[in-house]
């Protein structure tokens, strides 16, 4: 271990899944030997999005739903940084839904850890984009009337090269999923199921624990058709693990000026070089 990540006292409720996800993140970063100056956590607004406040690392805390665009900017300007987006289901799939979709299309080399508790925790219990139909909330008294997002299926149809699902109740497996996602070259989605102990009395810790199962060792994660079937499996049984993983050319690798040489942030700009080019036309 090169570095031990320092943690700060959070304002999450006792028993919140965020504690386990933070522990897993710390273990993944330490396990990969990534030091705080080599990585950045980008987040939006929400309970999950408070993550940069509670772990000592480079952090950028922006607006609700808007974590992906600054993460893209950070990665393109400094390709040496490990860029991790930590945000919730509301942040990533609701207000940030458009960025989620187009971020996948762009395939920037970032890891996206979505804390999915199927509820809005920060604003106290309204339905999120992943709340099930019929689920009664503090706002939807008669139950949710609209279909939930299927994030993994959506990511697959958008062409994501790394699609996984984790569970905050199993740290060891979550750590290995996070490591795989961080090391993956391209956009990597890990949808992490977690209980919200105060605002979601339906999808509780035991609700998830009783339903999750691990994809078998012989599961072929390069088979997109099978991955799609697993991605849509969200009911009595919920598969956990890497559903889909293939190599894809990243956005940065499509451009020689980004791919080759120093990160853009470390390059010296010399306007006199432009003069040489201009002279050719004179």
């Amino acid at each position: 271990m090169n570095y031990e990540y320092k943690l700060y006292e959070p304002t999450w409720c006792p028993g919140c899944g965020n504690y386990m996800i933070r522990t897993a993140l710390k273990m993944a970063l330490e396990g990969l030997g990534i030091e705080p100056h080599e990585a950045v956590i980008v987040s939006g607004i929400g309970q999950a999005a408070k993550m940069p406040h509670y772990i000592k690392i480079n952090g950028f805390n922006g607006l609700h739903g808007r974590a992906i665009p600054p993460a893209i900017g950070i990665k393109l300007s400094n390709k040496n940084l490990k860029v991790i987006v930590e945000s919730g289901d509301g942040d990533s799939y609701g207000e940030g839904g458009n960025h989620f979709i187009h971020g996948i299309r762009r395939n920037i080399d970032i890891a996206h850890f979505v804390h999915n508790n199927q509820i809005y925790g920060l604003t106290k219990g309204q339905a999120s984009p992943t709340t099930a139909m019929g689920h009664k909330t503090t706002l939807q008294y008669d139950g949710v009337k609209i279909e939930p997002i299927q994030p993994l299926a959506l990511a697959l149809t958008m062409g994501a090269g790394f699609v996984a699902r984790g569970f905050s109740g199993d740290i060891q497996r979550l750590v290995s999923l996070m490591k795989e996602a961080i090391n993956y070259k391209g956009y990597a989605l890990v949808d992490i199921l977690q209980p919200c102990v105060v605002w979601n009395k339906v999808n509780t810790f035991s609700w998830y624990r009783d339903r999750v199962y691990y994809l078998p060792d012989d599961y072929d994660y390069t088979n997109k058709k099978e991955a799609m079937e697993k991605a849509l499996e969200f009911g009595d049984r919920i598969p956990i693990g890497i559903l889909y993983k293939v190599e894809k050319e990243t956005y940065g690798d499509k451009f020689d000026f980004i791919k080759k040489g120093l990160p853009l942030v470390d390059r010296e700009l010399n306007p006199l070089d432009a003069e040489k080019l201009m002279n050719e036309f004179i």
């Binding site: 805390n61 207000e95 604003t123 309204q126 984009p129 706002l139």
Partner: protein, 394 residues
């Protein structure tokens, strides 16, 4: 007989919305206005209103849904704060430009970044030129009253502009105060039915809303919009007069507090006016001639009236709970000083204090400090600093 109650600002606004019983409410949760749609959704669930409530996925969608509903001839309402209002920005202009009299409760909160959930006026001040009428409220009573008057102003055929009713996040929205409510029937009668002259899906008169408007007509439409804002000045007073007859509560463009013989005056919006009144009372007991002007209507801006009211003081401090970052004072200060200049009031000396950003507490001592500064200027002294900040570490 009025109903005596104890309600927070958010409860008062939600209650007003229940009594108004609009056709559509579309909203997205954001602190500190979250409670308004939350209370309202309970009214929907209990069958106490006939409203179609749409829990949308963003504030942009909330305003868009209100625009659609209002364009189709319905009465639409929403509530938001801070970045929720900021995310509505481009739609605010669609609402006012299409002349759709939507009513919104804006629970004032500081804009990011960095993120802050507490009160200042950077959100609604940022939207001050979006073509919305803006009413400010010192207390939950005023927030309630302004909500009841809002539709009458907005839907008047000479106006047809959206209205934003502002109150201070947490300070007013979450503090429980004594309040007098009107009976449902009286509200129903006062607010009345919404009968738009033009709306979508009218088979007698199909119309298009928002199509391409080039240089041949755009300017005329904007000129009409400007005229509507001027007309709103008259309508705001007419509605206030009718409301006074109904409730005994008097509203104008601004409230003057102990200004009759005052030499110096503070101008401040919303809940801080309450703190300032406490200071005025205290300093009056000490024989100091201090007064207060609290604007209620910021859009349309009552320029000649406020310039006339301030002309008699020796020194005036305008307190802004938002910074314009223009190196020349906050938004209320620049509006007021330009009004004073344009309307020829040369008497008073003006200073500006930016205060309370991001919910920084403004204390009675701070306001007393400003009054003492004004008394020094009036002594007569000179203005050594026009643009000032109070309550900040520098």
């Amino acid at each position: 007989m009025a109903i005596r109650e104890r309600l927070s600002g958010n409860e008062a606004v939600a209650y007003a919305m229940k009594q108004i019983n609009p056709d559509v409410v579309a909203a997205f949760p954001i602190t500190p206005s979250t409670e308004i749609p939350q209370y309202f959704s309970a009214y929907v669930a209990n069958g106490e209103v006939n409203t179609e409530f749409i829990p949308v996925e963003s504030e942009h969608s909330a305003m868009s849904a209100c625009i659609g509903a209002q364009a189709a001839g319905g009465r639409a309402m929403t509530a938001t704060s801070a970045n929720g209002l900021a995310l509505m920005w481009e739609m605010l202009y669609i609402a006012s430009g299409a002349r759709l009299p939507i009513v919104m409760a804006c629970v004032n909160r500081a804009l990011s970044g960095p993120i802050n959930i507490h009160n200042d006026h950077s959100d609604s001040m940022g939207a001050r030129d979006s073509g919305w009428i803006q009413l400010y409220s010192e207390s939950s009573q005023e927030a309630y009253d302004n909500m009841l008057m809002a539709h009458r102003i907005a839907e008047h055929p000479d106006v047809l502009l959206p209205v934003m009713v502002c109150q201070d996040g947490f300070i007013t929205s979450h503090a429980i105060e004594n309040i007098e409510l009107l009976e449902d029937e009286k509200v129903k009668e006062f607010v009345g039915e919404y009968k738009p002259a033009h709306y979508l899906l009218n088979k007698e008169n199909p119309i298009a809303i928002g199509p391409l408007d080039h240089f041949t007509h755009y300017f005329e439409h904007k000129r009409q919009q400007a005229e509507a804002m001027r007309n709103a000045k008259k309508v705001i007073l007419e509605v206030a007069d009718e409301f006074y007859k109904l409730t005994g509560r008097k509203y104008g463009y601004f409230e003057e507090y102990k200004t009759d013989d005052a030499e110096v005056c503070i101008v401040v919006l919303n809940s801080t006016a309450g703190t300032a009144k406490f200071v005025v009372d205290k300093m009056r007991e000490e024989g100091k001639k201090v007064g207060l002007v609290k604007p209620r209507v910021f859009r349309p801006f009552p320029a000649p009236e406020i310039a006339g009211a301030l002309a008699r003081f020796k020194a005036v401090a305008v307190m802004d709970k938002a910074d314009s970052f223009n190196a020349a004072g906050g938004p209320l200060f620049t509006e007021i000083t330009s009004a004073v200049l344009a309307h020829g009031a040369t008497g008073p000396k003006f200073i500006n204090y930016i205060y309370g950003l991001g919910g920084r507490d403004v204390k009675a001592d701070d306001i007393e400090f400003i009054y003492n500064k004004l008394l020094e200027i009036a002594a007569p002294g000179k203005v050594d600093s026009i643009y000032n900040y109070i309550g900040v570490r520098e």
